[in-house]
């Protein structure tokens, strides 16, 4: 079995299995935990609506924080948009998902996706360097933080190398490395902070409800 065959086949298969198990495990485990409910009267009505509002309003940074947090918020935004565009709207990736789910969707032209992916990759590197050099971030960062960034950088880096075919490695090795890096990302995803994809909106909802109960838009 060649590296590419391993990567396209068992590696990706097992990674997907671990991903699905891990995601459901953690999600369901969280869902099933007991929840304490407040007894006091709410100051405002429409808690669920407020919770949903916070889910979306937190995508924007309140102006008052713009000076100190604007840069990282902006980077985060661009990075996430770039990630979604690259992963789900790059021609070759659409093919991958079509192979997986049986249907495809319109892809973006390479002339759009490639610069977007380059910017995303650049931002990830900036964020990593920032995490390593900013004293506050370095202080609060742990293995989970560094590994998650690196594990996310890898598919971007290998993907670029594969598509542009720059570098010393042959195409199938690069493609295999790309698949393997994706497999690593899938395996790492449910057990690391990357899981925030699932928790971030519910978490916002929770605070949105909690604060609206007190009459505050969070």
């Amino acid at each position: 079995m060649t590296l590419l065959e391993f990567a396209r086949g068992p590696a990706l298969q097992w990674a997907a299995v671990i991903f699905v198990i891990g995601m459901l495990w953690r999600t369901l485990g969280l869902l099933l935990m007991l929840r304490s409910r407040p007894l006091s009267k709410d100051r405002k009505k429409g808690l669920a609506g407020a919770g949903v509002k916070t889910m979306f309003s937190r995508f924007l940074l309140p102006k008052v924080f713009a000076k100190r947090v604007g840069f990282q918020y902006l980077l985060g935004w661009i990075w996430h948009v770039g990630f979604v565009l690259t992963v789900f709207f790059f021609q070759v990736h659409v093919m991958f998902f079509k192979g997986l789910v049986g249907f495809g969707w319109p892809a973006l032209p390479n002339s759009v996706v490639l610069p977007v992916a380059a910017v995303s990759l650049g931002i990830l590197v900036i964020l990593l360097v920032r995490r390593m050099t900013n004293p506050m971030l370095r202080y609060i960062s742990n293995f989970n933080d560094y590994s998650s960034v690196i594990v996310t950088i890898l598919p971007f880096a290998t993907g670029f190398a594969t598509f542009t075919h720059i570098g010393v490695l042959p195409y199938e090795t690069l493609l295999a490395l790309h698949f393997l890096s994706v497999a690593l990302l899938l395996v790492w995803f449910p057990f690391s902070k990357l899981f925030h994809v699932i928790t971030v909106l519910p978490s916002r909802y929770i605070l949105g409800v909690k604060f609206w109960r007190r009459g505050v838009e969070a």
């Binding site: 990706l12 299995v17 935990m33 991958f96 493609l175």
Partner: protein, 366 residues
């Protein structure tokens, strides 16, 4: 002078092939083999003076396509003549003798040239029931073993002998293997392809004839000069790939415009061969030019590397069933983890708060 003692030069002259044509062939071969131009006269001399080298062609589990590939050229090319020159001793398909006479010819050739003859193999070697493939009552593997014993080198023509090919493909009912799985102590050169490009086959032979040794090989024992680059890198459709212009089906606009066939499963990026450069049928075309993606026929396991029509960027083992099974396991583990956390929470909530129980120090003082 018997016919078999003629040099290649004599034969060329007898056939009315001009010296210029021969020189052109040598120059082209040198260029193909990436040899320095100063080697052209040497190749010319060596080839010209070659008397018939003893070559034994063994055909195992094969379809004769590789032989056809060389023989079926429109004009009597120099390639086919070189082929004829070398392969007269024993070749099932084209030798005049048959039955015991044929086997006798092989034995004589082996005895006379022990240690010096060249073995060409097409077809894979079955290792299961010996009855799967035999010649004159002898199993292929036995034939290979004892013919290889006196060989100077072995040339595996085609993917079957080089990597197992189609007989080797899942479920491999004959337990077929490649020649290199059986023979470990002889120089082996693999010339894979289904079939290999004729010019590649003869160039390898010409190299052997001219220099008495095999050309430089890669990690899969393929001549580097022909198998050093993938089809994709030299494909004339490559610019479409880079622009992201792909044919989505075999009859859409993209296909008509000659866009890249990656999405239709082309294996060009992972296939190392010279098709895009040398092409087929006297340089007429090659599969991608004809509108079909590369199958990767010269790569090991090409038959089992997923569908020919699935893009390389797709997973091969992932399917809804696996994911569903994983989902079920995930739900199970998640439910168990959730239930465990729940009961833990309940236990903690139910227990009297430690803050209200006296510390050891307090107990002692009481």
């Amino acid at each position: 002078m018997t016919k078999t003692d003629l040099t290649l030069g004599d034969r060329l002259q007898a056939r009315g092939v001009s010296r210029r044509a021969f020189l052109k062939y040598c120059a082209t071969t040198a260029s193909l083999l990436a040899l320095p131009p100063t080697m052209v006269p040497h190749i010319a001399n060596a080839l010209e003076s070659q008397r018939r080298p003893s070559v034994i062609w063994l055909s195992f589990q094969e379809c004769t396509g590789c032989s056809e590939s060389i023989l079926r050229s429109n004009t009597p090319s120099i390639e086919s003549m070189i082929f004829e020159t070398i392969s007269l001793d024993y070749h099932h398909t084209i030798m005049a003798a048959s039955g015991h006479q044929a086997e006798e010819a092989r034995k004589i050739a082996m005895e006379e040239n022990w240690g010096n003859y060249l073995v060409i193999v097409d077809g894979s070697v079955p290792t299961g029931n010996m009855g799967y493939s035999t010649t004159a009552g002898e199993s292929n593997i036995d034939t290979l073993k004892h013919v290889a014993e006196g060989a100077a080198a072995i040339v595996c023509m085609g993917t079957c002998s080089a990597f197992g090919g189609i007989p080797y493909a899942n479920p491999n009912p004959t337990d077929a293997v490649a020649v290199s799985d059986v023979i470990k102590d002889k120089p082996i050169v693999n010339v894979p392809g289904c079939p290999p490009i004729p010019a590649v086959m003869t160039s390898v032979l010409a190299h052997y004839l001219a220099f008495g040794e095999l050309p430089e090989l890669d990690h899969l024992n393929r001549p580097k000069v022909f198998y050093g680059q993938n089809i994709h890198d030299r494909c004339y459709r490559r610019p479409f790939y880079e622009r992201g212009q792909f044919a989505e089906s075999f009859d859409d606009e993209g296909a008509k415009k000659g866009w890249c066939l990656y999405k239709l499963g082309c294996k060009g990026p992972t296939t190392y061969n010279a098709c895009a450069v040398l092409k087929w049928n006297e340089g007429t075309s090659f599969p991608i030019e004809a509108g079909h993606g590369c199958l990767g026929c010269s790569e090991p396991n090409f038959w089992d590397a997923g569908s020919f029509y699935n893009p390389l960027s797709t997973a091969t083992h992932l399917d809804a069933g696996t994911v569903a099974l994983a989902g079920a396991v995930g739900v199970g583990v998640g439910a168990a983890a959730g239930a465990a956390a729940r009961s833990q929470q309940k236990k903690i909530k139910a227990a009297p708060a430690k803050a209200f129980t006296p510390t050891k120090a307090e107990e002692e003082s009481q």
